[in-house]
């Protein structure tokens, strides 16, 4: 199915958490809209992420067996939200779905999707250490790539690089 059919199916099935759909649009001089190119995605409420993903995985028509990617993005320092980005793939139907969740930076926590897809476990660990997101119910919340005592969350836009680490200069 193409993206529109998937979005249609999701809204018809009244899946919990589905908020809106973000499609590419051309720039519009009248409204001073710079436009949005690229590929479309659905916007999902982070609190209902587990139910949403469970539906995507178990539904016959959608059949998203594979979680391809789970990551986050800090769009800018001024933006009050952090984006959680998920990519799903259906092997038998040969289609993809992009999902975006907005997490307020003041309340950076959402349920862990490890119960739905085991692949989420390592991706969520990386998000936790890089962005400071808390995934509730994660079975193994250790640091993934950074040392266990690394200060701060590197991938945030307001991150200050440390001057030194255990006496080693980072200049």
């Amino acid at each position: 199915m193409d993206f529109n059919a998937i979005a249609e199916h999701l809204s018809v099935a009244n899946v919990p958490g589905l908020l809106s759909v973000d499609l590419p649009r051309p720039p519009d001089k009248k409204t001073k809209d710079k436009g949005r190119s690229g590929l479309p995605h659905v916007c999902v409420d982070p609190a209902c992420m587990v139910e949403f993903l469970t539906f995507c995985r178990d539904d016959e028509a959608l059949g998203f067996e594979v979680l391809i990617d789970l990551s986050a993005s800090d769009p800018s320092v001024d933006d009050e939200n952090l984006w959680i980005l998920i990519q799903l793939l259906s092997v038998r139907h040969r289609h993809r779905l992009g999902i975006k969740s907005l997490l307020p930076k003041s309340a950076l926590s959402m349920p862990s999707s490890t119960r739905v897809y085991r692949a989420a476990q390592w991706h969520e660990r990386e998000c936790m250490e890089m962005f400071g997101v808390t995934f509730e119910g994660h079975p193994d919340p250790r640091n993934m790539l950074l040392p266990d005592d690394w200060p701060g969350y590197p991938m945030r836009k307001d991150y200050e690089f440390p001057k030194e680490y255990h006496g080693i200069s980072c200049e």
Binding site: S37, V66, I68, S71, R96, G98, W122
Partner: protein, 411 residues
């Protein structure tokens, strides 16, 4: 068998693990273990970060009971070079050399993935056909080179020292070809946004055709020497079995998925460049694991899929050589690229699985977010569940069949 939580909790405590008297273990051969009520503790041994078999700087903390592995915990980050953070501070084209360096064995495919993602954000950009054809040839030759390394180093891990040299002989030829076309042997930065940056030198296409002819004969030798060798089959069949459900759950892609019998290849099923047309013309097929030597989804199947993929790559290269015509090689790309605002995720078939880039642009010269979905990172997670229950020698075989490149695991 210890779950990951138990391993992490008791990793720092050196308490002996006393098994309850009524817990009986079934060994890999199916026999019940003869159990004596003696308190012993499992040996915690560190595999890596410097170890010949971990394919790079990676640490796997193993808990073993004699030769039987009872727990495994990969520790990454030794090669973390902050590629994603750098993506947010350099211009679009300046990021290209960084893409070479995650999976340094298949740099062409990395460049391709990134370029396709940027081009998805620039819909008006047209890629000329000659550029597409050269991209396909280079990507497929790089796939052969990468699989040759996988084959050679897997032989080394298993103890066969000679196939490594033979594989590298062919790989040297490919690297010489790449050196002629772009000047580099390992990290090319050749496939750029809009096409490729350098046209083929005279005689290059003829040499690629010669390579294809020579390689087919050599391939059969390597297959018979190592893959069909009885000792190799005994070491890899029935070892590290990944079922299709497990592969889906762990997000595995590429030969890891196809080795478990799942018929899915991004080049054929969600085609990019002109792979769709190549497949329709019968240029290549998709080899799958069959479980003929042991169980479906064991290490032998995955290795066999990689070997057979090399032959399919030759088909694609030959098709491109027929189809290629003179013309421009790069589209109308400005010197400093400004990508229109938007977001896109594009995933392609890397030799190791699906390599995807998620790019977010706000209209400027520099990306706002450059996320790399690295196949080796995702494929490695399966080790935590595969290793317990196998022997130490099998642990090496499993890591080798996963074919990870630590540059990609850590980025």
């Amino acid at each position: 068998m210890t779950s990951p939580t138990e391993t992490s909790a008791t990793e720092d405590e050196h308490k002996p693990s006393i098994r309850p008297a009524d817990e009986v273990r079934i060994l890999a051969s199916g026999e019940r273990e003869f159990f004596m009520d003696v308190a012993t503790s499992d040996l915690e041994i560190n595999m890596g970060p410097q170890h010949p078999a971990t394919h790079g700087v990676m640490r796997v903390l193993l808990r073993t009971d004699g030769e039987l592995v009872t727990g495994a915990q990969p520790h990454l980050g030794y090669l973390h070079r902050c590629a994603e953070k750098i993506g947010e501070s350099v211009e679009w084209l300046q990021y290209l050399p960084y893409t070479d360096r995650y999976d340094y064995l298949s740099a062409m495919n990395n460049n391709l993935s990134y370029s396709l993602a940027v081009e998805a954000l620039m819909p008006e950009l047209e890629i000329p056909r000659r550029g597409t054809m050269i991209r396909m040839i280079c990507a497929e030759l790089n796939r052969i080179a990468s699989h040759l390394v996988a084959f050679g180093t897997y032989g080394l891990d298993i103890g066969a020292f000679t196939p490594f040299f033979y594989a590298f002989r062919e790989r040297e030829w490919i690297q010489a070809l790449f050196e002629k076309i772009c000047g580099a042997r390992l990290t090319y930065s050749y496939i750029r946004i809009g096409g490729v940056f350098n046209d083929t030198p005279p005689g290059w296409l003829r040499e690629v055709a010669d390579f294809c002819d020579v390689f087919e004969g050599k391939w059969q030798e390597y297959y018979d020497l190592l893959i069909e060798n009885h000792i190799f089959v005994q070491r890899t069949a029935n070892v590290g079995v990944i079922t299709a459900e497990m592969a889906y759950d762990f997000g595995l892609t590429g030969p890891m998925l196809r080795g478990s019998g799942v018929d899915f290849d991004l080049r054929r099923d969600m085609p990019y460049l002109e792979y769709g047309q190549a497949h329709d013309a019968g240029a290549f097929g998709v080899p799958l694991g069959t479980g003929e030597k042991g169980t479906l989804g064991d290490c032998w199947d995955r290795t066999q899929v990689r070997m057979k993929e090399m032959i399919e790559c030759l088909g694609i290269v030959r098709w491109c050589l027929e189809q290629i015509e003179p013309g421009p090689i790069i589209g109308n790309v400005p010197r400093v690229i400004k990508v229109p605002p938007g977001e896109a995720y594009v995933g392609i078939e890397n030799p190791r699985g699906e390599l995807g880039h998620y790019l977010h642009s706000d209209g400027g010269k520099i990306a706002t977010r450059c996320r790399v979905r690295a196949p080796s990172f995702v494929n490695l997670a399966v080790l935590e569940d595969l290793m317990p229950g196998s022997l130490l020698a099998d642990a090496v075989a499993i890591i080798g069949a996963t074919d990870i490149v630590v540059g990609e695991t850590d980025r």
